[in-house]
């Protein structure tokens, strides 16, 4: 019985490499010979990663896009840290507008070592929803300004945001990581909604 190539693999290919019909045809043609989904997935994933990291040409580098990318990165980092700290305070701290300073220390005197609240660990899902919703428009903007390298841009921004969140927050590692991860997923999801990307 002839198997069909994985629709999900081909959908991922179409999302990230929409302009290489010949490669897509080659993958299907070779799959019909190998009949191996594992082979197809490996080819698709490598092609996506390779495409993200290797379309780069120094001669086509645009200083304006670099400056814009740096500015967006600063805003994203600020957003990620602010949102997570703000939500932490809204959920577990004193009511607004009593926000004093940028770091949230729950009921501890200044200078005392920070202790994680047990409730914070279980509320990562709330952070996830809010952070993902806020990151969708950010991803949409990123994709719009970095059409030629949208995948590379998203990966770079996501990695930097993750790093900023890890270094700056005083929440537990699990909350930081989960919040940053959903932020990144939201970024990628937002980018996929950008018509500039989908219509390439």
């Amino acid at each position: 019985m002839t198997r069909h190539p994985s629709r999900l693999a081909l959908a991922i290919f179409d999302r990230f490499i929409p302009d290489n019909d010949a490669l897509r045809g080659d993958l299907i043609e070779e799959f019909l010979v190998t009949q191996s989904q594992w082979w197809l997935w490996r080819q698709v994933l490598f092609a996506v990663v390779w495409r993200s990291w290797h379309p780069f040409s120094w001669r086509r580098l645009d200083p304006q896009m670099i400056a814009l990318g740096a500015a967006v990165l600063v805003l994203l980092s600020f957003e990620a840290v602010l949102v997570t700290n703000l939500m932490n305070r809204l959920l577990f701290g004193p009511s607004l507008p009593n926000i004093s300073g940028y770091w949230y220390h729950p009921g501890l005197p200044p200078g005392a070592p920070w202790q994680p609240l047990p409730a914070v660990e279980g509320s990562a899902a709330i952070f996830a929803v809010v952070v993902a919703l806020i990151s969708l428009p950010a991803g949409w903007v990123i994709a719009g300004f970095h059409r030629a390298h949208h995948a590379l841009s998203l990966v770079a921004f996501s990695a930097c945001v993750l790093l900023c969140v890890m270094l700056n927050l005083h929440a537990s590692f699990a909350v930081q990581f989960f919040a940053a991860l959903t932020f990144i997923i939201g970024l990628i999801g937002g980018a996929s909604l950008n018509p500039a990307v989908t219509s390439r």
Binding site: I17, N20, D21, A22, L23, R24, G25, D26, L27, I28, E29, E30, L32, R42, Q43, V44, F46, A47, V48, W50, R51, H54, P55
Partner: protein, 110 residues
């Protein structure tokens, strides 16, 4: 002006295209390299390298007709340009010169 030599993968791609003559598109190019050298080829990487070779004027490509077996996608046929052939010869000359008189390699292939 110093000559820019081909990388090993670029050289393999060009040689595979030359060996295949007509009909050199992604799948047979990859198969030719795999069967001849034993090196596994990721098709996406091959296309990226071929795009760069085309930018440098070492290969040219034409689009064939779409076929239903390929999900209605056309093949992209590659051929080596005169400039590409010169690059292959230059690389061959350079590598041959390097191989010559290497004491550890004397005695034939094991």
């Amino acid at each position: 002006m110093p000559r820019k030599l081909l990388t090993d993968f670029e050289l393999m791609l060009l040689l595979a295209i030359l060996r295949l003559n007509d009909g050199a598109y992604g799948v047979p190019i990859a198969r030719e390299i795999e069967e001849t050298t034993g090196r596994r080829v990721i098709l996406g990487a091959a296309y990226t390298a071929l795009d760069r070779l085309e930018e440098r004027g070492l290969v040219s490509s034409t689009i064939g007709d779409p076929t239903p077996e390929r999900g209605g996608r056309a093949k992209r046929y590659f051929s080596v340009t005169t400039r590409g052939l010169r690059a292959v010869k230059d690389t061959q000359r350079a590598l041959t010169a390097l191989w010559t008189n290497v004491a550890q390699l004397k005695g034939g292939i094991a």
